[in-house]
Amino acid sequence: MNPFEYSPALESTAIVEIAERYNLFIDGKFVTPKSGKYFPTINPANEKVLAKIADANATDVDLAVGAARAAYSKVWSKMPAAERGKYLFRIARILQERAREFAVLETLDNGKPIRESRDTDIPLAAAHFFYHAGWADKLQYAGVGIQPRPYGVVGQIIPWNFPMLMLAWKVAPALATGNTVVLKPAETTSLTALLFAEVCQQAELPNGVVNIVTGAGVTGADIVNHPGIDKIAFTGSTEVGKLIATSIAGTKKSATLELGGKAANIIFEDAAIDEAVEGIVNGIFFNQGHVCCAGSRLLIQENIHDEVIEKLKVRMAHIRLGNPLDKNTDIGAINSAAQLAKIRELVTAGGAEGAEQWSAPCEIPGEGFWFAPTIFTGVSQTHRIAREEIFGPVLSVLTFRTPQEAVEKANNTPYGLSAGVWSEKGSKILWTASRLRAGVIWANTFNKFDPASPFGGYKESGWGREGGRHGLTAYLKASN
């Protein structure tokens, strides 16, 4: 029994007002859905219903696209670029002012620890608006000609793992480049997007520039298939990404797709071991492992395997799982029952295929969706847990003998979103990084994000980049 058991330190929810039900945000106003339907959104930490969310149908999507089109033709594309930038700066500042409100709401709806929503998601979301605000009147320097043009109306579909941050990744560059948007948040995490709609009103953003339609996959398909959409930006599973690519083939629509991953996190024998262990923990257990770029395949040089695993277990015993609103929580709730079932299915498969499971000794709350941080050792490349994206706090540990073998194993996946390399030898890091086929490679760190840094994948991890100059060009048509 540890005498220094931290008392609960709960973030107050008083700062957030959650309505009983939420309507669609179309043309600057909250409007009831033509579908007449609503669905519940729950707090995954206690399974209680937080609010009812409008379920947009094809008619609702059509209205949203119409509003976005009108705003594009009449207002947004005609506005001087510096003026567009001012709106983005205004939104960024409001996000900072209301950061605590957003953080609490994100944690309630998503299940992620308040420490992460407070210190990572919301500050980064604001940073994306600030970064792109600065670009708005400098697009001639984006590298696609002196007078690049926006696409027009962009349909944006975002996932549930970083609801507000993914919104910022999508909306900020689209607006900065002069596009208008129809955005659909994931059905389990709509609330911060709807609060963002309020921010758009507060910033007096012209009506129709941002439209938010809530709903499930069907609503997303309505956006993808709507003829008035000029471009699709999607973050989510590779499976859905492929469907989208198929749907838009042969149309005028282009797409940015940010899909799944099965990142290798490579630990060389000459790594700073203790910080590498921190990097492993951060790589796979950040946000309950609900991270497309998570370091879910740990590749350890065989001669330090036992030492690293021993230290990793000691470290994992300190991970604090529990109430996401507790400021000391490290691992929050799994976002949904469906996701929990998927994690359990793959973990069962891991055991059945002969890998050895170890889970951190933490108490699992009685209600809500939870999964203890888990590692599998003795994993082979052929195991499902080494190939399929688990999207949960589950790490597969493999070994390698030489740098060549590390690179070969790391690249042996249909994905190619991210990778990590740990070594104190600079030349080895560069040698390895230049051979890894992944869009983002972290050296001696993991899961670091910055608006100025392009993010995106090789192979089946996606098309295009988000963030930085590269991300900006995804929303611009070249000119001569």
Binding site: N2, F4, S7, D119, I273, E275, E278, K327, N328, N444
Partner: protein, 311 residues
Amino acid sequence: MIIDASEGSLKSFLKTLPQVDEVGVHARAAMLGTRSIKTTSKAWAIDMAISMMDLTTLEGADTPGKVRAICAKAVRPDATDLSIPSVGAVCVYNDMVGVARRTLDQIGGSSIPVAAVATAFPSGRASYAVKAQDTMDAINAGAAEIDMVIDRGAFLSGRYGEVFAEIVKIKELCGDKAHLKVILETGELVTLDNVRKASYLAMLAGADFIKTSTGKVVPAASAPVVYVMLEAVRDYYSMTQTRIGVKPAGGIRTTKDAIKQLVLVNEVAGPEWLSPRLFRIGASALLNDLLLQRMKMRDGYYASPAYVTLD
């Protein structure tokens, strides 16, 4: 241990230690600094921090009167509330050891050890004969804990054998009469790699405690430095089954600072180190802030600083 005291052996052992990634350590230490310690855990932490304090006066202007004053404070930090624990030790220069020891014995503090800084503290720039005499003086006057400084010059020029040998010899002088704390003066070692190497050097040479700083050099007990030292004692324990203590000193002035130190202990070395036997905090002004916070928890409001004594 497969090493001996020879220069070559020490060098090759220290080379086997994994490197420290400064950025990673700073990030982790900062994250642990965001732990929010409230209510009962805060109350526990305040009392634990008081009992871990090496209440210190190390001034050129120290007098017997000043030393008697801090001894009184050490035994009963607040005479109006006897539920407050005594501090871990009183830490003074060696010529003040006798006065401190006698005072403590007279006022019911016989269980509180006197720690003496020794070996030409704080610079350590003296011959070994002088350092040995300094240490013996303190022990003879009743010091039960010796806070020695390492020879940073020798360390930085790579003469690890000299640093090691000096610690071994001082440890021999301490024998079973005094605990040995080895001050690394991390502010002069600068890099965290050096902090890790010096920590191992001191532990291998027989230190009972490794201590960050003299308090005379800035920076002193920064969170990243303490973090690396706590990792060192944790890993040394898994190699040798021996638990070495850690003492941050210098710059820890507020209750918040002290609680952050305890969080580091808890989550890096482990809860076994949460005891005055294995963790001490070298400080002076800290005690009054702990007392004020303790009153706040007891009474529900902040008392005026006039309610704690200035000694």
